[in-house]
């Protein structure tokens, strides 16, 4: 069994722990053992150390990575921001001068960054290590006839030169579409598929500008696809789509709402896990589509001989 260090970050364990629970259910069931990284903290978020000092950013990121190095595992995170921050910090520390300066800081807390653990996104592991065939075999419910608008988010795509796993064309990403199609659903291209959702620093700096970008993206999704759900592999995008649809609805900007899932939540549902554990926290209602996903008619009959 493959083994990987589960780096939690902040948003997933504290705001959307049902996403964390979905990781803990689906990865072991798909043959990837998750090892906790005890004492790991914030990546650190873009608005903290990275906005003040490069070496402090690298030291806080480096400290997190050393926990995985000591355990002899690579790092997997489900948060795009953490993925970007840790990947870039590791990239900066490839320069010997930077590494030396950062290790002088880490030495004060009894640590040394070696660079032996790689940084992966949960989506990377699903697409490259587990693969769509194994995902197809694990399903208890199939999603045929359901349409998904995918939202990969920004930090999993750019800058591609600091990442281990790359899309063929980062401006036309296909990995998340592949993963959704593996469940039997349809996950078509749409014009603003790679566009930013407006979460992050932009939202804390100017919420109206953030909502402006978000509204344009949401309208594109609704008008071009009119999907049954939006599926993302970024916890920040998840929060934006989940909470900001409610704001737009209250303001009368939209008169609809589209259920939102983190990909592993949808996968966990299709694998038959309990929605009370893996998809239980959201402002935008999901119970209708969850009931549809886990309905009797979608059950894959394991007893069927499949021509054997």
């Amino acid at each position: 069994m493959e083994k990987i260090g589960l780096y939690l970050g902040c948003n997933i364990p504290f705001k959307a722990p049902d996403i964390e629970q979905s990781f803990r259910k689906v990865f072991p069931a798909l043959g990837v053992e998750l090892t906790d990284l005890p004492g790991a903290g914030c990546c650190p978020a873009w608005g903290t150390a990275p906005s003040f000092d490069l070496n402090t950013w690298c030291a806080v990121s480096g400290r997190n990575i050393t926990i995985a190095e000591e355990l002899g595992v690579d790092v997997m995170t489900g948060c795009n921001s953490c993925f970007g921050i840790l990947s870039e910090a590791k990239h900066f520390m490839e320069k010997p001068d930077r590494k030396k300066a950062v290790n002088a800081i880490l030495g004060q807390v009894g640590r040394e960054f070696k660079g032996t653990s790689d940084i992966y996104h949960a989506s990377n592991i699903l697409h490259e290590v587990i693969g769509v065939e194994k995902i197809k075999e694990s399903l208890k419910y199939q999603l045929e006839g359901l349409k998904i608008a995918v939202q990969p988010g920004c930090h999993i795509l750019w800058p591609s030169d600091v990442m281990k796993v790359k899309e063929k064309n980062s401006f036309y990403p296909t990995h998340l579409r592949d993963l959704c199609e593996a469940l039997g659903a349809e996950a078509p291209e749409y014009s603003r598929l790679e566009a930013c959702c407006g979460m992050g620093g932009m939202r804390s700096t100017d919420v109206e500008k953030s909502l402006g970008l978000f509204t344009e993206k949401l309208r594109s999704i609704k008008e071009e696809l009119d999907p049954d759900m939006i599926v993302t592999t970024c916890s920040s995008c998840f929060l934006q789509f989940d909470m900001s649809q409610q704001i737009l609805k209250e303001r009368g900007v939209i008169d609809y709402e589209i259920p939102v899932f983190y990909y592993t939540q949808l996968l966990a549902l299709a694998m038959g896990f309990d929605p009370k554990e893996v998809a239980a926290i959201s402002q935008t209602r999901r119970d209708g589509v969850i009931a549809e996903i886990q309905s009797e008619k979608r059950k894959i009959n394991e007893e069927e001989p499949h021509g054997v």
């Binding site: 930090h155 980062s170 700096t205 402006g212």
Partner: protein, 171 residues
């Protein structure tokens, strides 16, 4: 008729400041604007990002724009880095400018909570209500992170205290 007055000394100082803070590619910029064309911040209405921010720095106008909030609207998405034909890595310039602003405490007060959260719990985002949410989905109330680990918190505090952030008196 007077033209734009360029003060070479001021330009050199601005460029050095930004390069020292991590914007090492700035001098390679030819002002083509490829970065701004793909920038979600520019699209959302933050004018002083990517090309225009770099232009101001290359003109030596650093103090003049210190209060600009555009840089804090940067998503750090790095679309700019991906498309830049000159390998400037514009996002690194934007963040270097942020560091210049932060060093002068030209920062939004909204960021102070995350700095304190990071210092106290090791997490920039933390909320006590998470315990209830975690219990609800069948997870232990406290995750295996720095939040429940005094030694980890001490390590993070030691790193932060001796950093430029500590010197600014943020904690």
């Amino acid at each position: 008729m007077p033209a734009i007055i360029i003060e070479q000394e001021k330009i050199n100082e601005a460029v050095k400041t930004i390069m020292d803070l991590g914007g090492t590619g700035i001098l390679k910029c030819v002002q083509c604007g490829a970065c701004s064309a793909v920038c979600p911040g520019v699209k959302a209405g933050f004018p002083l990002l990517c090309r225009l921010l770099i232009k101001n720095i290359l003109d030596g106008r650093l103090e003049e724009i210190i209060e600009e909030s555009s840089s804090w609207g940067c998503q750090a998405c790095n679309r700019c880095t991906e498309v830049c034909p000159q390998n400037v890595r514009p996002q690194e310039v934007v963040f270097a400018f942020r560091r210049y602003q932060a060093g002068e405490l030209a920062i939004s007060t909204s960021t102070t909570t995350s700095q304190m959260n990071l210092y106290e719990t090791g997490h920039a985002v933390y909320s006590e209500s998470s315990k209830e949410l975690r219990k609800k989905v069948g997870l232990p109330e406290v995750p295996p992170t720095s939040v429940g680990d005094a030694k980890a918190q001490k390590e993070i505090q030691t790193i932060l205290e001796q950093s430029p952030m500590g010197e600014l008196g943020l904690f």
